[in-house]
């Protein structure tokens, strides 16, 4: 039953991790929205990229008697039973960033699909290089869901024209700037000629790659694509060292998720559709102002 | 009996002493090399049921190496082993054990974190029908074995908490429980006092009465004379003499071992009157480890410059503990120490060394050796050769210092860069002694300094200690070897159960009077 208009509400947010700026920003915006709504208490749980950890956190939160849960699941299947159990225990759940599988009782899924975002990334490449290009692909942590999804989206778009877009090297740099730099250096050494494009599964790796490119004095000759729309990346897009990044609007996701959940807890209103999709966009120099975090970039 | 002096080798080969037919173990023409250096060279020997055979030789002569071959630890490079006339080759220590050979090793092989009982039966714990260990049975058997050895060691004690001598007894106990046909004992008495040695002797006698063959290694020749039936002397890995013990005098044995006559060891007495008091210990007690009373209690004595003071006591009497308290190795409970007239309360060995105190510990393996480092580093570890500016080492000076002691103590080593682990036990001890002597301390404490050192080197060391005393060093000598204490000490203090029980002037003391004080009941003290 709805708790009433001005009821105190406690919400657990189980983030995938707090070590990635993407989720930190999401959290900040979410909490900002919560304080705007008023009388909403947010509990943070760090998923540490681990499904068992998130299950444990959800179980603890249910014991604790929270009013609702927002979760960015590490694994769509693994977390399904725990999410189901929480809902059965009377705790509404909103998934964010990505859904869990097979639990229709979830109040809402607020997400900007990683596959879709990567498709935007691929389309941006295709738009800039309509006649085709050679590419280096820097992938994320092997086996990680985000890494897999982004890789999949990119290939979905570019593999439609395999004659035009050739991946000359696909390596992992584990989402890290450090490895983005050294792996790019190594790849460039191994290639007979420099590629036209370096596409990375997150901004950190793209920024590392940009440094390698700069050190090789190849800047301007290779277009580098990031992902996440982080502050550093937006700045790099504006000064031209990155060609584009993808914005999934994590802040917006956070705001919508908390609003949806609180409305349901207080007044019992369900969202029109359980799937609230935030459309990711590719941010280039041309549409820089559309990026969510552009405000944090000072020229 | 064959063999004599320097032409001994010829004597052996022409002697044609065929191993007796009833031998349990026949060793024929055994050779062994390490890194191309021949350590054993055509050694033959036979061991007979019910007899004790002594294996003698200087440090590094090859005794332990021979034993390692007989107990299956190393494989010979040449020669044959026969058991009951059958040629055998051991695939490993277990194999040798299965064939009835058990060994008490020179370096113990115990389990520090396990109990005495479990250590005794390791590898063959008795189990019940469903395969679970019979703990009670083990405890009972352990008590029985310890009683046989006259050792008061509870089966449930952790081996790590035992003293060296107690560990030695456990090591012996394990060989006894094995029901072997041959027991090899590599210096089993090196850290035992007369009481335990006496017990061991009677154990050996009852073993031989049951038909067990014994191979016995010891540097204490009186013991050898008394216990064994026959002997073999090794020098540089070759047999230089063998025969019936009854036919050989101690002097003969010594001559074969070291290849020269040793001067008769005289009783030492202070050459000049001792000088000023260097060490003064007043009412010293150790810090109680448990709720019980302190282990070493109310000890008072003094040592003067130029004086050698012996500390005598039975196993576990607390001699080592006194030394450690003075050296700052263990925390002092109460009482005070004065060094050269000044109060002295070392917070650790570093303090003591800085104040001119040196301690040669009793447990070579655990307290002295750096097994992974070469001889030169082991020698230089106390920093006796002062480093140059910024702590830069002066390696050349260190080498020269080592060279001196090497000659002095007749160290046998492949070179200063050889790993110390490749030296024989006695030679390791020499390196350790050299480490401390080069410090030129004002107070030198030596705890069982000649453990495992051969008779020649032992006499050399005795001379060295006397020279140091003559130079004005105050020496505190701890030894379980009563003749050694008697030979060197100006005064002898006796300890029992952590208390001082008496003091004798060196010239008045003899083994009997010492033993009486060492075994005095506490109340009578």
């Amino acid at each position: 039953a709805p708790k009433g208009k001005d009821a105190e509400v406690t919400i657990l947010v189980s983030s995938l991790t707090y070590a990635f700026p993407h989720f930190v920003f999401l959290q900040e915006q979410l909490e900002d929205e919560a304080s705007k709504i008023g009388k909403v208490k947010i509990l943070r749980a760090d998923g540490q990229l681990s499904a068992p950890k998130q299950i444990a956190d959800i179980e603890a939160a249910v014991v604790q008697g929270v009013d609702g849960i927002i979760i960015a699941p590490a694994d769509a299947d693994a977390l399904a039973p725990a999410v189901k159990a929480a809902i059965d225990a009377g705790v509404p759940v909103v998934t964010i960033d990505r859904p869990v599988n097979g639990v229709p009782e979830v109040l809402a899924n607020v997400a900007a699909d990683n596959v879709k975002g990567a498709e935007r990334q691929g389309e941006a490449i295709a738009a800039q290089f309509p006649k085709g290009a050679t590419l280096i692909n820097l992938q994320g942590i092997p086996g990680d869901k985000t890494a897999n999804d982004r890789n999949k989206g990119l290939h979905t778009v570019l593999d439609k024209q395999p004659d035009l877009y050739k991946f000359v090297s696909e390596q992992t740099a584990r989402f890290s700037r450090d490895q983005g730099l050294s792996v790019t250096e190594n790849i460039l050494t191994g290639l007979p000629e420099a590629p036209q494009v370096i596409v990375a599964a997150n901004d950190d790796m793209a920024l590392g790659a940009a440094q390698a490119v700069e050190a090789r004095k190849l800047n301007g000759k290779i277009a580098i694509y990031g992902y996440d729309g982080s502050t550093d990346a937006l700045k790099a897009v504006s000064d031209g060292s990155l060609a584009a990044t993808v914005d999934q609007f994590p802040g917006k996701q956070g705001r919508v998720a908390v609003k949806t959940l609180v409305d349901f807890i207080r007044e019992g209103t369900k969202p029109a559709s359980a799937d609230i999709l935030v459309e990711p966009i590719a941010v280039t120099k041309a549409n820089l102002s559309e990026a969510e975090r552009i405000g944090t970039v000072t020229q | 009996m064959i063999g004599s002096g320097s032409n001994a080798r010829g004597a052996v080969s022409s002697g044609g002493v065929a191993p007796p037919d009833e031998a349990f173990l026949g060793v024929h023409d055994l050779t062994k090399n390490f890194f191309g250096v021949t350590v054993l060279d055509g050694v033959s020997l036979s061991l007979t049921a019910g007899k004790v055979h002594a294996l003698l030789g200087e440090n590094g002569a090859g005794k332990s190496t021979l034993i390692n071959l007989l107990s299956g630890i190393h494989q010979p490079d040449g020669g044959t082993l026969r058991i009951d006339g059958q040629v055998v080759a051991f695939s490993g220590p277990t194999d040798a054990q299965r064939r009835g050979i058990s060994t008490i090793h020179q370096e113990f092989s115990l389990f520090p974190t396990l109990t005495v009982a479990e250590t005794l039966f390791a590898g063959r714990l008795p189990v019940n029908r469903i395969g679970l260990v019979d703990w009670r049975g083990i405890a009972a058997k352990t008590e029985a074995v310890m009683q046989q050895l006259g050792a008061d060691i509870a089966p449930g004690r952790r081996v790590a908490d035992l003293s060296i001598a107690e560990q030695q007894l456990v090591e012996i106990g394990r060989a006894l429980t094995l029901k072997s046909r041959l027991i090899i004992m590599d210096e089993p008495t090196a850290s035992l006092t007369p009481r335990e040695v006496g017990r061991l002797k009677s154990v050996i006698r009852s073993l031989t009465a049951e038909g067990v063959a014994i191979l016995f290694v010891s540097h204490r020749l009186e013991e050898v004379k008394e216990l064994s039936d026959s002997f073999t002397v090794l020098r540089d890995g070759a047999v230089v003499a063998r025969g019936e013990i009854a036919d050989a005098s101690i002097d003969d044995l010594v001559r074969w071992m070291v290849g020269r006559d040793l001067l008769e060891e005289g009783r030492h007495h202070a050459i000049s009157t001792p000088g000023a008091i260097v060490l003064e210990v007043d009412n010293l007690s150790s810090r109680p480890r448990s709720a019980r009373s302190a282990f070493v209690e109310s000890i008072s004595f003094a040592v003067r410059s130029g004086e050698i003071v012996g500390l005598a006591g039975l196993v576990g009497a607390g001699r080592t503990e006194i030394a450690r308290l003075i050296f700052g190795a263990d925390p002092i409970g109460s009482g005070s120490i004065r060094l050269n007239g000044h109060p002295f309360r070392p917070s650790g060995p570093g303090d003591a060394i800085a104040a001119g105190v040196a301690l040669v510990p009793e447990d070579r393996k655990h307290q002295s050796l750096f097994p992974s480092l070469p001889i030169s580093e082991n020698f230089a570890a106390v920093g006796s050769v002062r480093p140059g500016p910024f702590g830069f080492l002066r390696r050349k000076a260190e080498r020269l210092a080592l060279q001196q002691f090497r000659d002095r103590l007749k160290l046998r080593a492949a070179g200063a860069d050889a790993p110390i682990a490749t030296l024989s036990g006695g030679n390791q001890q020499k390196v350790i002694l050299a480490r401390w002597l080069v410090l030129k301390p004002r107070l030198l404490i030596v705890d069982e300094p000649t453990r495992g050192v051969d008779i020649g080197a032992k006499l050399d060391l005795h001379h060295l200690l006397r020279e140091l005393a003559a130079d004005g060093v105050a020496i505190l000598l701890i030894s379980s070897d009563l003749p050694e204490i008697l030979a060197l000490s100006d005064r002898i203090l006796t300890i029992r159960s952590g208390r001082l029980t008496g003091e004798l002037a060196g010239r008045e003391a003899d083994e009997e009077s010492l033993m009486r004080l060492m075994t005095l009941p506490k109340a009578a003290a």
Partner: protein, 339 residues
């Protein structure tokens, strides 16, 4: 037969005073204190629902910790368990689904086999992988740290190759029962954990094999001289930990209804921490299963309680590190002071 403990044989026992008692039960006392603190700060912590949660959460982790206890008792270490959990989970998944194609559907591409084949495959692969590592440790005397560090990388690579980087999900009911089912009020993984604990406890304390594990850890050289088959025992403890990891991998896949190559990451460090907190010495030869259970619970309680108390995730990391160090220091200092 007698269940008398090896230490109860001590004849002249020192008076059992408070300090000795403390020393004996230091890890347990630390655990109880922590639980008391959490209960005080958040009474809900002590609800039976929550305690069963904690038990279920630690059970997989605890099963592997039991195996790790054997390894650490021999002075070894096994860093590969997390990767092995991932690998064996995927093996179980592949067997249960009959292949990797159609890996998200319940009715899979190939011919899926029953849960017991899946479990068996996972356990077997774990055991073999562990034994191989044991061979390097025992026969080639390569330090366990190096072997299992390499193993960790290799198994993670194999898991990626098998799953082709992605998860395999959606198993049938029976498969899922092991991870999610209940027997009465008790979750199935908890029961499996208890069974493993009891068996391991008896083996370690009262069989020749168990005692040889202690002897080898205490002094490998002496163990060899005593005729213990050191190599075989060493290989066996790594195989055992592999078996436990395989069981853990199966249970985790069953619990999550999904197996993937990134599963079990960083398990190794938590598991080792649990064993050490439980009083098993990294220098070998001392420790026991009861301690490991306590250490496991301590880690579980810690992770659970800090979330219930809503401690900031960043600060949580800080506290977890501090408490791990604190627990072990507490144990060591009390034992030292006792003497």
């Amino acid at each position: 037969m007698s269940l008398a403990s090896p230490t109860s044989l001590v004849r002249p026992r020192p008076p059992t005073n408070a300090l000795a008692f403390l020393a004996r039960f230091a890890p347990l006392i630390f655990l109880l204190l922590l639980m008391a603190l959490f209960t005080f700060l958040a009474p809900r912590f002590l609800s039976s629902l929550n305690l069963f949660n904690v038990l279920r959460q630690v059970s997989i982790f605890g099963i592997v910790a039991v195996g790790m206890t054997f390894v650490i008792l021999t002075r070894g270490i096994d860093l590969s368990i997390g990767a092995l959990i991932a690998l064996t989970g995927l093996v179980a998944a592949v067997v249960a689904k009959g292949g990797v194609t159609g890996r998200f559907e319940l009715t899979s591409g190939g011919i899926g086999l029953a849960w017991y084949w899946a479990a068996l495959a996972a356990i077997l692969v774990g055991g073999i992988a562990g034994a191989l590592q044991g061979v390097f440790v025992a026969k080639f005397t390569v330090p366990a740290f190096v072997v299992t560090l390499g193993g960790m990388t290799i198994f993670r690579g194999l898991a990626l190759i098998i799953g082709n980087g992605g998860p395999i999900s959606g198993f049938d009911e029976n498969f899922g029962w092991f991870g999610r089912g209940m027997v009465g009020a008790v979750p199935v993984p908890v029961i499996v954990f208890l069974v493993v604990v009891v068996i391991a406890g008896v083996v370690l304390h009262s069989t020749r094999y168990g005692r040889s594990v202690y002897a080898i850890g205490s002094n490998p050289e002496a163990a060899r001289l005593c005729g213990l088959n050191v190599n075989r025992t060493l290989i066996s403890v790594y195989a055992l930990t592999g078996l436990c990891s395989g069981l853990g991998g199966f249970l985790l896949a069953s619990r999550l209804n999904s197996a993937e190559a990134v599963a079990g990451s960083q398990y190794e460090l938590n598991v080792i921490a649990a064993v050490v907190i439980g009083g098993t010495s990294l220098y070998g030869g001392t420790g026991n299963i009861a301690g490991t259970v306590i250490g496991t619970l301590l880690i579980g309680v810690l992770l659970n309680g800090l979330v219930i108390l809503n401690v900031s995730p960043y600060v949580q990391q800080l506290l977890i590190g501090a408490i791990i160090i604190g627990a072990v220091t507490f144990d060591i200092l009390i034992k030292k002071y006792k003497r």
